[in-house]
């Protein structure tokens, strides 16, 4: 019983972080139907930005969130303006291979600059023993990450559904040509979607730094989960990404506890396959 409760809580908290990692992918796909293969590397850059700021300036890791957000916002927007918008003029394959190339480029550039070592933060507000409520354990960093994830989702949801800018992003997502006829600068909206996608994954990276190792290929692990999350939730759906994140978090922890840690990934993808066989557009896709 205690294990069940602990596993559920841990799974939901982890799920919120998975959802936050996937959010940017969903935003970018939603606005322009392109899969950003370099998404995991954006996460990695966010992690290094947080780690280096926290250790270099002896700063509280939580305060590095805005730093990672800004750096990854610039990284996302820069990727759009310097690379992606040219890829859009080419065939579909160019878009796939283009962001794939960006992924390899950023990953091995990080390898060259930072070396392959695993680094970890030792001090911080969230880095402390778990909360124990009787037999139930709640991990501090995961709790912090979950709270900030929910906040970030709320902010993005508000931006997209309640603001003029959000309407323009939606219009660009639905019909880029018609959006242009409304006087919307669709090029700017796409750049912004990449910036926003970068910023949210940057925040996820900064949070992850509180309880996970930082190394150049760390993005690979999380991006595989993010792809499954976005596909499960329905490509481009913000709500879908959140709910799919929770589902995947639960599978992650339940699979790890009751089946065996080595089956986590297989279980996640098995669920994903079952869902897409029944509902190819994902849970909330259209």
């Amino acid at each position: 019983m205690e294990t069940l409760l602990s596993t559920t809580i841990s799974g939901l908290l982890m799920g919120m972080l998975f959802a936050l990692v996937a959010l940017g992918l969903a935003i970018i796909f939603g606005v322009m139907d392109i899969v950003n293969f370099a998404h995991g590397e954006f996460l990695m850059v966010g992690m290094y930005a947080a780690f280096l700021t926290a250790t270099g300036l002896s700063m509280e890791p939580l305060l590095t969130l805005p730093v990672s957000a800004v750096i990854c916002f610039i990284l996302g927007m820069g990727s759009y303006y310097l690379l992606v918008r040219y890829l859009l003029k080419g065939p579909m394959l160019a878009q796939l291979l283009g962001t794939f190339g960006l992924m390899i480029f950023i990953r091995y550039l990080a390898m060259a600059i930072f070396g392959p070592d695993y680094k970890t933060l030792e001090q911080g507000l969230l880095i402390r023993p778990s909360i124990n409520w009787g037999p139930v354990m709640i991990s501090y960093p995961k709790l912090g990450a979950a709270v900030i994830s929910v906040t970030a989702f709320g902010a993005v949801y508000w931006l997209i559904n309640r603001t003029r800018l959000g309407m323009a992003l939606k219009a660009t997502a639905l019909d880029v040509e018609a959006a242009g006829y409304m006087g919307i600068n669709t090029e700017k909206m796409r750049g912004l979607a990449w910036g926003l996608g970068g910023a949210t994954v940057g925040i996820a990276g900064a949070l992850l730094t509180n309880f996970y190792y930082v190394f150049p290929t760390v993005g690979l692990l999380f991006v595989m989960i993010a792809f499954a999350t976005v596909a499960l939730g329905g490509f481009g759906s913000i709500k879908g990404a959140f709910i799919a994140g929770l589902i995947i978090g639960l599978i992650w922890d339940f699979g790890g506890t009751y089946v065996g840690p080595e089956y986590k990934f297989a279980l996640i993808y098995l669920t994903y396959f079952l869902v897409i066989i029944l509902r190819p557009q994902g849970l909330f896709g259209w």
Binding site: M167, D175, E177
Partner: protein
């Protein structure tokens, strides 16, 4: 107001418009007719800034807009209601209209525009919470025109507003265009219903394979041999 002079427009290198000139004066309803592939839609897309001419020039209110972006052209007061309507299907009627007023920052002006459009097309008011994609073809066309009016344009360009509508609705739609003309709105209309389009127009232009072959008063054009033979089957 609008002056298009000897433009050539290419689609991936191939000329679609060879030599078209056209002008629109304030308050006029101008109809452009021609067979499929004669370059009518390309002409409107070029004026809207989606495409740019390889030769010739376009002026609006004595300003050169030949190479202006769509955003600038909308801001200068030209809106384009595209062929096949291009409604934002998953968004509500009212959200679609508000997007039409995207360039306006003044909330009061936006509300005034919305009331104006609801006055013109009362059915849109009844359906304002409904998703655009769930409207009938005729209602979607009204929404598209209403959306094009939201920014209070100086020139409204309508691309085949009767396309895909059943005959009864075609007449209703063209009546609506006539109403807009009565309101003093300057309109550049592309239509496949040649007779009606030319009858209601102040002046008309006939395009053939990317060239202006005739222009003149609407009703007079209807009497020319080329129109009779090619479009009216008389």
């Amino acid at each position: 107001m609008l002056k298009v002079e000897n433009i050539e427009v290419r689609y991936s290198g191939v000329p679609v418009i060879h030599d078209v000139s056209l002008d629109v004066n304030e308050g006029e309803l101008i109809s452009v007719v021609g067979a499929n592939g004669s370059g009518k839609t390309t002409l409107l897309k070029t004026i809207s800034g989606t495409l740019h001419p390889t030769k010739g020039s376009i002026q609006f209110d004595n300003e050169d807009i030949t190479r202006s972006s769509t955003v600038d052209i909308v801001r200068k007061g030209i809106t384009y209601v595209p062929e096949e309507r291009r409604i934002f299907g998953p968004l509500s009627v009212e959200e679609n209209l508000r997007l039409g007023a995207y360039i306006l920052n003044d909330n009061e002006a936006i509300e005034t525009s919305i009331e104006y459009v609801y006055g013109l097309f009362p059915i849109l008011k009844d359906r304002r919470k409904q998703k655009g994609g769930t409207l009938s073809g005729g209602e979607q066309q009204m929404l598209a025109i209403g959306r094009g009016l939201m920014a209070s344009p100086k020139l409204l360009m309508l691309d085949e507003p009767s396309l895909g509508l059943m005959p009864k609705l075609v007449d209703e739609m063209l009546d609506a265009v006539a109403t807009l003309k009565g309101e003093g709105i300057t309109i550049l209309l592309v239509e496949q219903n040649v007779r009606e389009a030319l009858e209601m127009a102040d002046r008309g232009y006939v395009l053939q394979t990317g060239r202006t072959i005739y222009n003149g008063r609407g009703r007079e054009l209807l009497k020319t041999d080329i129109i009779k033979k090619a479009f009216l089957g008389i």
